[in-house]
């Protein structure tokens, strides 16, 4: 099965092996850009496609797992419940690589509880929200991340303040919180790779414009606005385990983060004072960004120290799904002993 050549990755697969079915989303939809970045990131990381599970909820974003990595297993679940399904799958087989795909409605409204609890448990998974501030499949209702005071064609004015999902993630003690923009593949791709290498729950809030319902020039989820207001914290380079850092950076200009699997990301600072390991600083920065009407992007918060769900559960080395009767069924003697103790 493995091929060799210039166009193959570490495990001998071509980029073609990571492609999905043709998209049925609208032309220009941000979700399609994210799908293609996932394809590239998985190819470049050399992920074994069959070892990857793509799990989603319901909505436009949750349809997108069909449009990348056809050789991987996929689970398009129930609205707002992707995190619980992903948690169950990871408990059953801790060796899987889980990519959870959700949207701002699927996560921020119906799924806010499961979102926060999966992060709190530190379930090992990449959790992506393709955030467009609007319900697409049901035709243009405001979502919980829509701007306060915003006007939409059929639903009028939005009177309520938005939830900031990155803030929610940090407060839930997620150890990897990042924000990016579907129109910025250079930033999305290293963040995807870093998140997959993180080893716990890694949350990526990707602003992903909806060209059908929420791409007006004054919408903070539209292409124009984001391009004008994007405020990246740093330039990000992902360094795989096998490679060495070759570029020379001036001291103080960069910081390096080593991930769970030994890979690294180098953050070339654009904001001198920003330290992604400072939790309160991260919260303050998000707050400032929201009130200044800018979009803070990059690795906003990072904490490598929390044990993940598999560690907390003290699971055996072999995935639970692979254990046989011998490993799972206690002896007949043990049952007799319990019975005689009753």
């Amino acid at each position: 099965m493995a091929k060799s050549g210039n166009n193959t990755n570490l495990i001998g697969l071509e980029k073609q092996d990571y492609k999905g079915s043709p998209t049925t989303l609208c032309a220009g939809c941000g979700h399609n850009s994210i799908s293609s970045q996932i394809i590239t990131a998985a190819f470049e990381l050399g992920l074994q496609p069959e070892q990857v599970v793509k799990i989603s909820g319901i909505g436009c974003s949750s349809k997108s797992p069909a449009y990348f990595m056809n050789r991987s297993f996929s689970f398009n679940s129930v609205h707002g419940r992707m995190p619980s399904v992903a948690s169950g799958a990871m408990l059953a087989n801790k060796d899987l690589v889980t990519i959870g795909i959700s949207g701002d409605g699927d996560t921020g409204s119906i799924g806010i509880g499961q979102f926060k609890h999966a992060l709190r448990r530190n379930t090992p998974m990449l959790y992506i929200v393709e955030n467009n501030g609007v319900y697409g499949l049901t035709k243009g209702q405001f979502s919980v991340t829509a701007d306060e005071g915003q006007n939409l064609k059929y639903y009028g004015k939005n009177d309520l303040p938005p939830l900031d999902l990155c803030l929610e993630a940090i407060v839930a003690d997620c150890g990897f919180v990042a924000r990016s923009f579907a129109g910025d593949p250079k930033q999305v791709r290293p963040l995807l790779k870093a998140a997959i290498s993180y080893g716990g729950a890694a949350f990526l809030d990707i602003i992903s414009p909806c060209v059908a319902f929420n791409n007006t020039s004054d919408s903070t989820k539209g292409y124009d606005w984001v391009k004008e207001h994007d405020d990246p914290l740093h330039d990000i380079t992902y360094i795989p385990v096998q490679e060495e850092i070759t570029t020379q950076y001036e001291p103080g200009e960069t910081s390096t983060v080593t991930l769970h699997d030994g890979s690294q990301i180098v953050l070339r600072k654009l904001d001198e004072s920003y330290d992604p390991k400072d939790k309160l600083g991260a919260i303050q920065a998000l707050h400032n960004s929201n009130s200044e009407e800018s979009l803070l992007t990059g690795l906003i918060y990072y904490n490598p120290d929390r044990p993940n769900l598999i560690q907390t559960e003290n699971l055996v080395e072999s995935p639970l799904a692979h254990l046989t009767t011998d490993a799972l069924r206690p002896s007949e003697d043990s049952l007799s002993q319990i019975m005689s103790g009753l």
Partner: protein
């Protein structure tokens, strides 16, 4: 004339007063003296202060159903005393604290006063502990009045406190003091007494939730996700306790995971995700949890994912009577979810079956690639029952039709193709390393290759196959237990924890010349034997603990040609069914216009 080993004791206390220890010690002492006994806790949805009753039935014949007449009443709760005293059968006994100011006017019962406060004070335990040890006074007095062996009481205390001698030493002197006081001060005038027998030799006592948890452990459960809800919580607790003893490898790592989820929705999502990825996954819940899990139940049915859902039933709808028993979730589970579904349901009728179905449910779920409901109830799950020791599983785990990477490479793979004609397709587990092993699991319309489809024919094909799959399970599921009397015109049909009441009622009816056959259904969809049983009798009474007669209606739908033979005897008041209720209902139904029983 003395009445030996055949009476019911009821202890009335405010809940949270620590009477559970006293009551369980009494039950175990009687049981260990060889007297067939059963205990039932009738408790409120409350932590402290509301009325609670604990009933112990001793029965030389081995009947263990609740009995509605009480022979011996222990009144420790002034709030309910006047009501409780009226529940004592004429000729019965009433024990109460000497400090209580009751104005009892019944002259047909025997009264014994107990110096509860005085003995508790004299015991020397701290005043904070005194209310708890006070309950030991009635244990001692009752031991003296009935003739319960004090050595068995001490053994039961030690068992209850898991051998912690200090706790035994705190309680036993009070029991002894009460016993001694009683010997000197009570002149026994009642007829009730106990005598040692060998009727419980080789028998153990256990609650159904522990039995279910053990069954799951021996069934190889790997992922359990749950959310606390009475009366299923103790199933999760027992699983946690015993898995920690039985299910670690040599390095101390666990071969299981138990997750207390954020709610029942998440618990259902976790077991569906885990079952999909190859775990033996289960949850335990009760009615409100079943409602919350219904969307995932439908998903699991349609996407064909194994999982086991224990429903320890309580009274609904809504919050209902959260600490009382019913069999009201039968149709809710069988047809759980929107759209057309029909779930396999297992219906354990005793604690041995809680154990057996505990492991078997995983095999069935994986064999049929579908969620399997197991319907226990509060009475079965939380109360103590006598049983023969559980039988070790007689076959290895059946993981169902799961393809390996080599099989995929050799033969190809279509997730929802009915290759074998039994409606059960083949599946692969995520992580199966073969190009072609993966597939797309979805709750939306799909074809045989698991591709998205809104094609009308794909939908029909898929749904018909699912129908066929579930139908094909009916004769492989636990078969009904049948006792057919050739000369009987009437039959009884029941399921679950009504079994002891029906057994006793049949004996009592037979004593007065009313013969009956009995079929206890143990699974849905039902075996064809059920319609044969109905056809073989003039009238079949469907006995169940709910209001609407859910099994009755379900059988009428499934066997419309036999519908008029079925008579519903549905009763639900939150209390376990009694034989008297069944006998009275049958006599009323079977009595002709002339007042005579029909033949």
């Amino acid at each position: 004339m003395n009445i030996v080993n055949d009476f019911s004791i009821q202890v009335a206390t405010p809940n949270g007063s620590g009477s559970q220890t006293s009551n369980l010690v009494l039950l175990r002492s009687l049981f260990k003296m060889g007297i067939p006994s059963s205990g039932k806790n009738l408790f409120p949805s409350n932590i402290q202060g509301m009325p609670t009753w604990y009933t112990i039935r001793c029965s030389q014949e081995g009947y263990v159903a609740r009995r509605d007449s009480i022979q011996i009443m222990i009144l420790m709760n002034p709030e309910t005393a006047l009501q409780d005293i009226n529940n004592i059968q004429p000729g019965g006994v009433c024990l109460y604290p000497e400090t209580a100011k009751y104005n009892f006017d019944r002259e047909d019962i025997t009264y014994y006063k107990m110096p509860v406060k005085r003995l508790a004070k004299e015991s020397g335990v701290s005043s904070a502990l005194r209310p708890y040890v006070s309950n030991m006074v009635y244990v001692g007095v009752l031991a003296s009045v009935l003739g319960i062996d004090l050595l068995e009481i001490e053994n039961a205390l030690s068992w209850h406190f898991k051998g912690r001698q200090k706790l035994v030493d705190t309680n036993m002197p009070i029991i002894q003091a009460a016993f001694d006081w009683s010997r000197q001060n009570i002149t026994k005038t009642d007829p009730f007494q106990v005598e040692r027998t060998n009727l419980t030799d080789g028998i153990v006592m256990v609650d159904g939730n522990l039995a279910a948890a053990l069954g799951a452990i021996y069934g190889g459960v790997t992922v359990m996700a749950w959310y606390p809800i009475t009366p299923s919580t103790s199933l999760a607790d027992s699983l946690t306790q015993y898995a920690s003893l039985l299910r670690h490898d040599n390095n101390g790592h666990a071969t299981y995971s138990i997750i207390q989820a954020e709610d029942e929705l998440a618990a259902a999502g976790m077991i569906i995700g885990a079952g999909w990825a190859g775990a033996r996954a289960m949850t335990a819940t009760s009615g409100p949890g079943i409602s919350l899990m219904s969307e995932f139940a439908g998903f699991g049915y349609y996407a064909e994912i194994p999982a086991v859902i224990w429903d320890v039933q309580r009274v609904g709808p809504s919050t209902g009577l959260p600490t009382r028993v019913s069999q009201g979730d039968l149709t809710a589970c069988h047809w759980s979810s929107h759209g057309d579904t029909e779930h396999i349901c297992l219906l354990p009728g005793n604690v041995a079956e809680c154990f057996e179905f505990g492991w078997r449910a995983f095999d069935i779920a994986e064999q049929y690639q579908t969620p399997v409901f197991v319907l226990s109830d509060l009475d079965l799950g939380m109360n103590n029952w006598m049983t023969k020791p559980f039988s070790y599983p007689d076959k290895p785990m059946d993981r169902g039709k799961v393809l390996t990477a080599d099989q995929v490479l050799e033969n190809g793979f279509k997730r929802y193709l009915d290759l074998d004609g039994d409606g059960i397709p083949y599946r692969t587990l995520p992580g199966t390393l073969a190009n072609g092993a993966s597939y797309f699991t979805r709750g939306s319309g799909h074809n045989e290759s698991a591709k998205y489809s809104e094609d009308p024919q794909d939908y029909i094909t898929n749904m018909s196959r699912l129908r066929h799959k579930i139908d094909s399970s009916r004769e492989t599921l636990p078969a009904p237990i049948i006792e057919q009397i050739k000369t009987a015109n009437i039959g009884f049909l029941g399921f679950g924890s009504t079994d002891p009441a029906i057994i006793e009622a049949r004996d009592r009816l037979a004593d007065i010349g009313v013969e009956s056959s009995y079929m206890r259904v143990r699974a849905l969809p039902t075996s064809l034997k059920v319609s044969e049983f109905i056809a073989a009798h003039d009238r079949v009474y469907v006995i169940e603990m709910n209001i609407e007669g859910q099994l009755h209606k379900l059988l009428q739908i499934k066997s419309p040609e036999l519908a008029t033979k079925l008579i519903s005897l549905a009763h639900c008041d939150g209390l376990p069914l009694t034989a008297s209720w069944v006998v009275n209902q049958i006599l009323e139904q079977e009595r002709g216009p002339n007042g005579k029983i029909r033949q």
